[in-house]
């Protein structure tokens, strides 16, 4: 890989600039823009994932033929991320389905409503 032996660490500098830019962008999206909350969350999570990818590929030498480790590191990290998705999404899915958390005195509430309640959650 070219970056290793040359004097100037091009890849690192590009990665660095990108990550600073992405951070600022996320900050702006969250605090400066007036997107709907859902979209803010989606977009800043997307930015975070891109930035993580930059670290992994541009800083961490995840795929390097000299390592003779083939695709295993990539494979493991990939599966780690899949598991992360399962754990986070799965927990939210199961913990906030059906009985919800913010059950109110009115037992007839539908579960979608309960979920919203939970997210608002100020009344408790």
């Amino acid at each position: 890989m070219a970056g290793h032996t040359g004097r100037f660490p091009v890849k690192h500098v590009i990665g660095f600039i990108l990550s600073i830019a992405l951070t600022l962008l996320a900050l702006w999206a969250a605090l400066g823009s007036d997107l709907p909350t859902v979209w803010i969350i989606v977009s800043i999570m997307a930015l975070a994932i891109i930035q993580a990818g930059i670290q992994l590929f541009m800083f961490m030498h995840m795929i390097e033929s000299e390592s003779h480790n083939g695709h295993v590191p990539w494979n493991m990290i990939f599966h780690g991320l899949v598991l992360a998705a399962i754990v986070v999404a799965g927990s939210l899915f199961t913990m906030y389905s059906g009985h919800g958390s913010g059950g109110d005195h009115d037992g007839d509430m539908k579960h979608e409503q309960q979920q919203e309640q939970h997210e608002g959650h100020t009344e408790h």
């Binding site: 295993v72 493991m76 599966h79 799965g90 913990m95 389905s97 059906g98």
Partner: protein
């Protein structure tokens, strides 16, 4: 804290246990001193990094834990057969099933299998040790001290009593004060760290240290099962680590994760526990599948039928195992949609498992089946496990699980899979690889007696439980109504049958040590894989010359070609790691730290943790790079081992 709070008091059973523990300890100390074996113990065992010795230590510990868990089981069975006798009261019964479940799964099944992996996998793939021998020793000692920590709760401080699942808020500080639950948390945490390290270790070993020429799809199936299991370990155990840590912090430092106060969410524990817990049950069954595959293929004298399908089905099972955890709490009221999703994903596991069952049957087809003891254990597994499996699928149907859940139907299911799967495999594997480990076989005749007692006892014990479950008998009750009595008595009889089986098994170890002839060749069963290519007992470096592998069943091919692993012309010095006492010392300090935390003596916990960190720093500066075995020494060892 008063001394009488420290020691558990007031129960003849426990005084008895204390006395016997004290006596056994004294006896061990006496024997070691009398025969001047302390040095030997330290040099040969406590400081070893040899995967074979570590494996043996795992298995001995696991057998001891099987004994302990089995005693718990017998106590429960006595209580349930004679509820009027008040053999155990409610509190004791609760402690007993909690420790039974935990000990059996965490400190018996997993270490037993990990022990077999340790002994067999490096040999099967033609390696001289695991990738990280030092780490391997750390793993073992962390398991060992974790198990010790958990087991001393019986006499010091009091046992945990909230079930092996330890659901909050019951297991929280408010409802379960005292050290009992802390023992559970820290015992599991300590051994869990070791398990995670084992997972990493075996993944790297299998991925990087296979003999030259051995492609992934030429690997013996037990090694494959170890790889897949390690994968599950690596991804499942961190969840347990976190869950345990959170509950520990709740209990000791007053956080509010799983509490009723502070808007905590107790059911999040349930969720996290099963996110680990379900993969866990496959961690203990996939290696078992691997063992059965090896044995069935060896004694059907045929290559494993559908090798590729066998491997892929394991991979699919591993993947699915992370997607079904909710089936353990269908009854929590998540609604029809969530339950439908997880119901279907659960039942899907039947498909790859079925593929395995039918491929085993295919292996038998047109074979020449030799009914040796390990083969009989494996054959007993097939029909028994299918019963457990199909009842698992019934549990997986959420709409009817509402009726089975928390009943003896469930208890019957999981013993059918855990015993017919895991325990049979442990016995089968131990008998099968016993000559490799100790240089002589176990007696076949006594072995078969033990098998029949255990297998028949097993069915007599657990088959009736399906029906008493359908009759509405819940699990975890210490006394029962008369309607449930007859089936429970039958069940208890069966449990004692299993006890007899186990006792005969232990006797067989003694008997064979004394009377069975020693193995002359390393190939005790006319084996097919590389572990049989080594002489018996296996030299500490395993292979004098590492063979070049050309296909599945590598040793079979070598035998046809007349090759061995002792190619005198091509010997080179072999690099081996040095023994070290660090893992043992480090983990005993960890034990002290954990013990301190159990009693919430923070000074002790902190001091211990500092000790561990110092040990790690020490290790970082340790540049000992092992040593080389000289060619002469290899020659001498091999010649004597092979009787040349």
């Amino acid at each position: 804290m008063q001394l009488d709070e420290f020691f558990v008091t007031g129960e003849p059973l426990i005084y008895g246990a204390m006395v016997s523990i004290a006596l056994v300890t004294a006896a061990i100390i006496f024997i070691l001193t009398y025969f001047k074996k302390w040095g030997w113990l330290w040099r040969e065992w406590l400081t070893t990094v040899d995967h074979k010795k570590i494996g043996i230590m795992y298995i001995i510990s696991a057998l001891a834990m099987l004994f302990r868990g089995g005693m718990d089981a017998l106590m429960m069975r006595i209580q349930l057969a004679f509820p009027g006798m008040n053999f155990l009261n409610a509190q004791h019964y609760d402690e007993v099933f909690t420790t039974h479940g935990t000990v059996m799964i965490i400190f018996m099944a997993m270490p037993f299998l990990i022990g077999l992996m340790n002994i067999v996998v490096p040999l099967q793939i033609g390696a001289r040790d695991v990738a990280f021998p030092y780490l391997n020793a750390v793993s073992f000692w962390s398991f060992f001290f974790g198990a010790m920590l958990f087991n001393i709760s019986f006499v010091i401080g009091g046992s945990p009593d909230a079930g092996w699942t330890s659901y909050t808020p019951l297991a929280g500080a408010a409802m379960s004060p005292g050290p009992g639950q802390n023992f559970y948390l820290l015992g599991l945490q300590l051994s869990g760290i070791g398990t995670l390290a084992t997972g990493i270790n075996f993944m790297v070993t299998i991925l990087k240290m296979r003999a030259p020429g051995m492609k992934m799809f030429q690997m013996p199936i037990f090694s494959w099962s170890t790889l897949v299991t390690s994968f599950i370990i690596v991804f499942a155990f961190p969840i347990l680590t976190v869950a345990l840590a959170l509950m520990t912090i709740d209990r000791i430092f007053g956080s509010q994760f799983f509490t009723l106060t502070g808007e905590g969410m107790p059911m999040m524990w349930t969720n996290l526990f099963w996110m680990w817990g379900h993969p866990e049950v496959y961690i203990v069954v996939l290696p078992a599948f691997g063992i059965f595959s090896e044995i069935i293929s060896t004694f059907a004298r045929k290559q494993l039928f559908g090798y590729k399908a066998m491997v892929w089905s394991m991979i699919v099972i591993a993947g699915l195992s992370f997607l079904v955890w909710v089936h353990h709490f269908f009854t929590m009221g998540m609604g029809a949609f969530v339950n439908s999703v997880f119901s279907i994903s659960t039942m899907l596991i039947a498909v790859p498992t079925g593929v395995k069952i039918f491929n085993w049957l295919g292996t038998l087809y047109k074979g020449r089946i030799q009914l040796t003891t390990p083969m009989l254990w494996s054959l007993a597994f097939i029909p028994s496990f299918v019963i457990g499996g199909v009842t698992g699928v019934m549990l997986g149907m959420a709409a009817t699980d509402y009726q089975y859940h928390n009943s003896y139907f469930l208890v019957a299911h999981f013993h059918y899979v855990l015993i017919a799967g895991t325990v049979f495999a442990c016995f089968a594997g131990l008998v099968y690889w016993y000559p490799k480990m100790f240089g002589h076989k176990l007696n076949e005749r006594i072995g078969k007696w033990s098998l029949w007692f255990f297998v028949i006892g097993f069915h007599v014990c657990f088959f009736p439980q399906y029906f008493v479950g359908l009759d509405g008998m819940p699990r975890r009750v210490f006394t029962i109504i008369p309607e449930w009595m007859p089936l429970n008595v039958i069940s208890t009889v069966g449990a004692f049958g299993m006890g007899m089986g186990f006792a005969i098994f232990v006797y067989n170890i003694y008997y064979s040590l004394r009377y069975n002839e020693r193995e002359k060749s390393g190939d005790s069963w006319d084996g097919r894989t590389l572990e049989w290519a080594t002489p018996t007992p296996v030299p500490f470096y395993n292979f004098a010359t590492v063979p070049h592998v050309e296909g599945l069943d590598a040793y079979l091919i070598m035998k046809e070609k007349g090759q061995t692993t002792f190619d005198e012309a091509n010997l080179k010095p072999i690099h081996m790691p040095s023994n070290t006492g660090q893992p043992f010392i480090m983990m005993s300090i960890m034990f002290v730290a954990s013990f301190g935390l159990v009693f919430e003596w923070l000074w002790m916990a902190i001091a211990g943790l500092i000790g561990v960190i110092v040990m790690m720093a020490f290790r970082s500066f340790d540049y000992n790079d092992g040593f080389y075995v000289k060619v002469d020494e290899i020659k001498r060892t091999e010649r004597s081992a092979r009787g040349l």
